[in-house]
Symmetry: C2
Amino acid sequence: MQRRRFLHRLGTGALAAGATLATPSVALAKKTFRWKMVTAWPKNFPGLGTGANRLAERITAMSGGRIRVKVYGAGELVPAFEVFDAVSRGTAQMGHAGAYYWKGKGEVFQFFSAVPFGFTPQEVNAWLYYGGGMELWRELYANFGLVPTAAGNTGTQMAGWFRKEIKSLDDLKGLKMRIPGLGGEVLKRAGGTPVNIPGGELFTALQSGTIDATEWVGPYNDLAFGLYKAAKYYYYPGWHEPGSVIECFINKAAFEALPKDLRQIVLAACQAANLDMLAEMTARNQQALETLVQEHGVQVKALPDEVLRTLHRLADQVVEEIAAGDPFARKVYDSYRSFHRQVSAWSGIAEYAFMRARSL
Amino acid sequence: MQRRRFLHRLGTGALAAGATLATPSVALAKKTFRWKMVTAWPKNFPGLGTGANRLAERITAMSGGRIRVKVYGAGELVPAFEVFDAVSRGTAQMGHAGAYYWKGKGEVFQFFSAVPFGFTPQEVNAWLYYGGGMELWRELYANFGLVPTAAGNTGTQMAGWFRKEIKSLDDLKGLKMRIPGLGGEVLKRAGGTPVNIPGGELFTALQSGTIDATEWVGPYNDLAFGLYKAAKYYYYPGWHEPGSVIECFINKAAFEALPKDLRQIVLAACQAANLDMLAEMTARNQQALETLVQEHGVQVKALPDEVLRTLHRLADQVVEEIAAGDPFARKVYDSYRSFHRQVSAWSGIAEYAFMRARSL
């Protein structure tokens, strides 16, 4: 059981059935830990920022106040894209972000957030908790003095907002689209021009025609940004982010300074938050989708099969190239690829076949 | 935010951001609670029983041993189908089962486990945590002195093992199949003969021809029972159980006797277990499916569309009739139906459309 081994490695032998519980020293049991959680989201940002808030509140409540976690929005303590380094050096004890933000440190980071044509939320959790994914993630982040874990999921995203219809591959040629990361690389190979623009500037860039299209998250978050006022066509499915993991990483020294019960509380709170965020996103996305269609007249459209087929082929190339980068990237890719092949087959006759049957 | 209100009603105001944490009395903070968890599964049964074990271990570890939970397999303290009453009267403090087992107390219970052609795992979590489902569940179980919550999910199940091929609706006529609950009622209306047989007797009943077919769970659990030796055809999708919730219910008086931090620990441990079990089931099902097909030559087949369409129509009738039973059942049905309509639309362009695109 990989999970059992993983927990043991964290020094939580007390989890084994029937084991005698270690009594933490009285001093440690009474100690209050004041932790900072830095996030890559604007303070209270729907779903992501509020998810970070709830995680922090929960750790504080579960620990009876022995860990008090204060949440900082992007820019409050450090900028969004510096939260990894801030927790690594101990400026804060926890970070809440997405692993693809750290691809400057290595392309391999992206496997722990989203891979184009990769895992659904249910599949990525199977890989992380029972398929060896979490152990690889911990191996990678240990190099930076961090303990990573999953603390949320956006669900399958939308392909994005387009000012013009996409009828064939030709419509991607020259298309200037905000789409970061691996998805952007795939678009580039399909003839488009990917750009990266911070979320807060998307609406203006799209409305002014600086960009022709943009992806963001899904109906709940996209409605909040008012993107429907700047582009008419809302395309699905989110081939580039089919189930993006939201991560929580913890400064390793801070984590190891906790007594065992508090370490378990932090990890379990993250796992509960992982489910909780996806549940919220799923519930809010469907409400927001109705609002977009019925109140704002948005046209929801499927990308043509021909386009999806080509993007898939290009995505497989892009992802495979990461594996060539270094031996660790190869190890992660092999684990990902082998699990993906099998779990896709299972999903195909389970959740997928059921949803198909339901729609007949 | 329904979730926030829900937590408040449990008297956990400390969760509100910035609220001062109530200090539990010193006596209560030091007290050790010895709890019994009775389960509807054989001890250590793969996925379900082991999920109960992990949940208990985790509560003990997170609480630093302040709650010590001892798990009992079916029949060890009380029989499988008496765990609800045992926890209701306080013989044990926690129970681990599936709500459809209690349909003798009211058909409405089944909405909190599985509804034919109902929710996927991701959808049911959205309904429970952010769509009002959990509040209705708590209202129902409060009548029995219980606090219910979700603590696992099987994922979409398989339609079952059949000794003969199902080529049309005619093949369901007279079919004697082990399929309990709402699924069984649907089969009956399609001309079949549903029977209920305990899991342990399935193999013999199927091999001897006492029954023509049986559903159980999915590849992981079905492989363990050796059902492939008694029937050749393994059908999908599990229209009758598309995402069965595994429940944990807690004796209300025992729950309220806990200090606030321990109440939070118990609820968060259940939510983490909810994700954890589905992750395990997803990972193990795909491995077991490969074993069944490649080592045991099992023929995996899809139910014909015509059959699925008819079963769906009959299922809608069966489920709607529950609503006619009493005003509370009507309230639950209305909540379920309205959320189901919306969330199916969203899943259709999100996870479903993505999995379709991936398979092109």
